[in-house]
Symmetry: C2
Subunit: 382 residues, 2 copies
């Protein structure tokens, strides 16, 4: 869901991409993005494309032929990063764990020690395909001990759980607008620290992408420079500014607590229906609940009924999880008590009519109790 203020902002008549009034919009966005990423990085911008464009901007600007990158592989998005590294002529060291798990720091330390000259380590903070919440606090120090940069995919986490770019010393962090920022898809927030900027300066090959070349793009976003690169997506930037203002007005801590409470309540209800979380208790994302399907529950027909009869869309499993899990998003504006209760009620109804549930009401009741005691949780904070 997108807040009506954001939808309305998209209809604002457009300005020229070098109009002083529009440059002020960009300044607002940079300021608000720094606040959201909790960073003072000057290069904090919105890439002109969806979340995967942010990923490609990160990889294409850092990785050049001959570089090695260690990539955490525990879902769809690690695989995507690996593909991008290889397309840049880089070598991928795959850190593979089962889908639903997270990358263990000990495993990373070992791999860093064994590998020769690793340029970057890339991890997915919130793996949308599995609901796994990757801890990041101690990772950067490990990487920097081996002179590797840390790249973090925060597409689904930004605005929903803490993303502490400066405190955790993340070098490159990218996100998308359509998850917990509740702006329509179309832009990729990206922040880039001094260490990562130095890596761009030390490149021996030109960046293979012109569109994503940060050495050029950053000129447009830098106050005082403002050199034309490509025409900015004006309307989407209006939308992002308004979405970030809403994040700012709510406050990050309040927003994180809301996501945690609603995620926890939903999970309490789902558990009563026999749908158990895939990740272990330490690593369950509150905005993306990935639950295993009991064998009696039909996957596709149930999701179709949810969409057609109740207007609720939930995700199925990708790759090895196809047919085995559901992925239920409670992101940004969509993270609401009413959504939790409506979904659980709809599921109880379908389950009861299908003979998969004998005690109607228990899921909703569990969620209601969850809202009363939000911190008596089945989910610990990563």
């Amino acid at each position: 869901m997108v807040h009506s203020r954001v939808l309305q902002s998209l209809s604002t008549p457009i300005l020229g991409h070098l109009d002083p009034l529009f440059l002020a919009v960009m300044d607002d966005i940079q300021h608000l993005l720094r606040e959201t990423f909790r960073t003072s990085n000057p290069l904090t911008i919105a890439v002109s494309g969806t979340g995967s464009a942010g990923m490609e901007a990160a990889i294409t600007n850092l990785i050049e032929p001959g570089d090695t990158a260690i990539v955490g592989m525990n879902g769809v998005f690690g695989g995507r990063i690996a593909s991008m590294v290889e397309r840049c002529g880089g070598t991928v060291v795959r850190l593979e764990v089962p889908w639903g798990s997270v990358i263990d720091p000990h495993m990373l330390r070992e791999r860093l020690a064994k590998s020769h000259r690793v340029k970057a380590v890339a991890l997915v903070h919130a793996e949308t395909s599995t609901g796994a919440w990757q801890p990041l606090q101690d990772i950067a120090a490990l990487c920097h001990d081996h002179e590797a940069l840390l790249i973090v995919d925060a597409v689904t986490s930004l605005g929903g759980v803490p993303v502490e770019v400066d405190a955790w010393d993340i070098d490159v962090c990218f996100s998308g607008t359509q998850k917990c920022l509740s702006c329509p898809p179309g832009l990729a927030p990206l922040t880039w620290n001094r260490r990562a900027m130095d890596a761009i300066r030390k490149r021996t090959h030109p960046c293979q992408s012109w569109y994503f070349d940060l050495a050029l793009v950053s000129e447009y976003w830098t106050e005082g420079a403002r050199a034309y690169h490509h025409t900015a997506p004006i309307s989407m930037l209006y939308g992002l500014r308004e979405a970030l203002r809403l994040v700012h007005e709510e406050g990050l801590e309040t927003r994180f607590a809301r996501h945690r409470t609603n995620g926890t309540a939903l999970l309490s209800g789902l558990t009563e229906l026999g749908l158990t979380p895939l990740p272990d208790p330490d690593h369950r994302l509150p905005m993306l609940n990935c639950v295993r399907l009991p064998s009696r529950v039909e996957d596709v027909s149930t999701r179709t009924r949810l969409l057609e009869e109740y207007g609720i869309e939930i995700g199925g499993g990708h790759g090895p999880l196809r047919g085995k899990v559901w992925r239920i998003g409670l992101m940004g504006e969509s993270s609401q008590q009413a959504h939790v209760l409506t979904l659980l009620n709809a599921l109880e109804d379908i389950f009861a009519r299908s003979g998969w549930l004998s005690t109607p009401g228990i899921a909703v009741q569990a969620a209601v109790e969850g809202f009363r005691n939000p911190y008596d949780s089945t989910r610990r904070t990563a």
Copy 2:
């Protein structure tokens, strides 16, 4: 300017990018884009980025290391294409002519004959930095005689002058939404024929971009396939559909005539002010009028006054034309009699107050006469 129907469509609540209702929006866009490009190419889509993203999608999918491309260099955008070809590991044969001129077919024929195995020829149909209108009718046959593909940058031309993808046998053609389609910037229409599809299949290296990889992106746009690649920019696609509907409702021929009439009338007025067109009479774009500044007329201060006192933005010169020309757009919704007259009136006012004009009223009068006799023109149709 963007029509209010397009601005309003951007505020439509968003759908999921695989929701059947949204897939119907994509089908509408493909249908309307084919009509606008005058093509039956199945692969006719909107790339998720601004016009330059369309350019990068075209080059990155066609050019691989070792390939040679002939690039017409007569303004900013030929230079951009050349840079992209080189970043793909390709070799650029530069076909250089003075800014404001177009590429002569004889020159291209000679260069094709002299060069060894040219993979593609890239030309800019409407060069926004010079106002030059590149003829294309006989170019494709030349290219195909040498087994080279023809790539056309139609960013500024699509929807303003004829772009006949099938009739002219163009292999790859890309555009942007924010010029004569009058949709905000953020998407790049792209069409790709069978010959170009074959070239993708024959690649020996993978496409170096994941985000722009048409072998993957096309799966999402193909009816029946619809495989998830990256999340589509939903709101911008609503906007593009509405903008294309407006093009369809007006009719291409009517729209072209409107651009021609207004461009011609503007030029008649500008000529009276001593501002003479840069390109020769055979190659003057109607939607982008690039005129030389007489030495008495100050560049930056006049444009600043236009913006601040009259709310009118016109472009200055790029590169070798900096300080020497103005570029005045009359694109899509902005191509209106009222705009022509308002600008000429403002210029007369500033010129008279600055002592650069002795007969106020002559420019407006010339334009009014131009509207009366729209086809008695100083501009021939390319």
